[in-house]
Symmetry: C2
Subunit: 385 residues, 2 copies
């Protein structure tokens, strides 16, 4: 299958591109590299230096003989680039990661909020129009987030909800209450995507992904040039990655507020497999299909306890500390999210065992000297506006 | 009350500004006049030439002694302008009409779609940040649309819905399925506004307005320079205005598809009163309040029959004709939308009597020579992309 990976320079985009390429797909990647600029703007860097995408694509070809074509351009600002890319490559499947991915980044100030929403919404609209115009049969696999749902007091279903009200019933989009301008941008995308399915017959799978942890996949470990980015900072790093970096550095793990915030989690290896399962089982024309993409639910306290336990097993002297929650979110809430669709397509989860966390410690410990403790503490407050 | 009307050059913005000014409020208006540019782009014009906003503000002062301050600038592209306007005028109430208002315009092509969503979403975000930063207590009255809801098979409530699912209950945003990229932009706004209430304690009333008809208010008729814009074209004209123009010109009324499409309607005079009622009864800090702003439900066929009846009474030889629906929408559907909140605040509706329609005929008949029949037929197809 010809698969175009948008956001191919990113934490998940590059491992996905290699994974699909190694399984015989004809893969192209597209990126404008803007995330590297955003990192520099806020003063953070991945734990290991990440080779340019040009280098990584070249090295992948040298090692495997598989070509990954590279398109460099901005899907949000350069629609002509987008149309030409679709006309040239004619993707049958599309994996769309090309969005500003951080909630704290979107909450820094007005400028970052508007940038996030315009970048994500306009980029997705440009892609929708290019698909409709150039490759209407192309299956769009779009990365959303479990954070779109917020923390409702009812079970979270996979995108749609059968609602009965005053004796009448309809199948409706699951009502959402997202927790940041970033999460909101993904909700906007989801509404736009559903509309494109309804009026144009687009084929869309919206993957509402949980919090991803880990960085190593079968492909990233083939060669040092093939690595992906591991973020442990408070802007782009996710909670488990951050806690492991703190533990390795001997900094107390910073639990935001009560720590009862519960979310879905998954291993980076499962992200790749989920995307593959979605591609191999395409949505029908006109179908807006939503999968909740995570394998286990944990609270922040659960994650902290796991990291503390594994760290202590390794002989580290570590603790955790509650700090004032920089976010505005419920810290004690009901959370039960369905996630059976990907399982029924064949997903075999990599669960969060102590062994997996221990392996993350190995990875981070080797790079201990590169950890900057100052970027791990939260600097963005939801309240300030 | 100091009230800032955003979109003060528009069909509803200008009559609202005069209405509030005449009732003793200290009113400012803001506009970038871009709607006049959009009209020129698609080749349509209001039935009567509309004096510049500068002229109208000046004439209003000459006639009434009331000053309406004018801010000219782009709220979507010039955040510094927005912040300074809030800092200067310090509004206690804000009426936000400053959005691209047409569904067909948003469906013309990729460029118009992206323009619509960026203009509407970024403009509203800039306003939210300016309010939060400069006048956090300001009550934001935002114009949404009943079209955000689409045509669900359940009763439409006012913005929120109590959902029971698997034995648990929550109060959630009403799930929406809007019918164009324009309507989608308003759904995006609503989500962003609800979030601002939740995290910043913003005070927001979202007015999900039905289809407005009429053009004359007590203030617009005071002087020929005070008129507002009457659109009868297929891009910016609403259905009743369009049908009356067709009837006066002797063109068959063009009913899209089966004509069973049912929507909420209201008289322009009720728009002004609803906005006033919202301002006089502000939302609490942190409250995202939604009112469904219409007074009666009609199908397109109902509206066509009324216009045919009144036209025939006036001796006109007129008919209606079904044309292929340029939109993609249900033409035979359940529709029952709640709209009691504004009534309970004191709204006394101007209902759509034959007399009201006859009065619209009078207005349009005087301007018959200015009607261009070519702009009344739909030129934008939802399907094309």
């Amino acid at each position: 299958m010809r698969v175009l990976v948008l956001g191919g320079d990113g934490y998940l985009g590059w491992p996905t591109a290699m994974y699909l390429s190694s399984r015989g797909h004809d893969v192209s990647v597209c990126d404008n590299m803007i995330k590297r600029y955003w990192e520099a703007e806020v003063g953070v860097a991945p734990l290991e230096e990440v080779p340019t995408l040009h280098t990584r694509v070249r090295r992948w070809q040298e090692l495997t003989g598989n070509t990954i074509e590279l398109f460099v351009g901005d899907i949000a600002k350069n629609p002509r680039f987008v149309y030409r890319m679709f006309e040239t490559f004619k993707p049958e499947g599309l994996v769309h990661y090309a969005e500003q991915p951080s909630a704290p980044f979107s909450m820094i100030d007005r400028d970052k909020c508007v940038q996030t929403q315009i970048n994500n919404v306009a980029g997705t609209l440009n892609v929708l129009f290019a698909v409709q115009s150039m490759t209407p049969d192309c299956h769009i696999v779009k990365l959303g987030t479990m954070g779109e749902y917020g923390t409702p007091n009812i079970d979270i279903e996979e995108g749609w909800l059968r609602v009965t009200h005053n004796g009448r019933t309809d199948r409706m989009l699951f009502p959402k209450k997202p927790g940041s301008f970033y999460h909101l941008s993904k909700v906007h995308d989801s509404h736009n995507l559903e509309f494109a399915c309804r009026v144009w017959g687009a084929r869309v799978t919206d993957l509402n992904q949980g919090i991803v942890y880990g960085v190593q996949t079968d492909e990233t470990t083939l060669n040092t040039d093939l690595r992906s980015s591991f973020h442990y900072d408070a802007i782009f790093g996710t909670v488990l990655n951050r806690f492991v970096a703190q533990a390795v550095s001997g900094i107390p793990l910073t639990v935001y507020g009560g720590g009862g915030q519960t979310r879905g989690f998954l291993n980076i290896k499962d992200t790749l497999r989920c995307v593959e399962l979605a591609l191999n089982n395409a949505a029908e024309s006109g179908e807006f299909r939503v999968f909740n993409q995570f394998t286990e639910q944990f609270s922040v306290n659960d994650i902290a306890e796991t990291v503390l336990r594994v760290g202590k097993e390794r002989g580290l002297d570590i603790t955790s500390v509650r700090i004032e929650n920089p976010r505005i979110e419920m810290e004690d809430h009901y959370y039960n999210a369905q996630h059976s669709a990907l399982g029924s397509l064949g997903l075999q989860p990599h669960l969060l065992t102590d062994g997996v966390v221990d392996h993350m410690f190995d990875y981070v410990a080797d790079l201990k000297d590169r950890i900057d403790p100052r970027v791990v503490s939260p600097s963005v407050l939801w309240k300030q506006g």
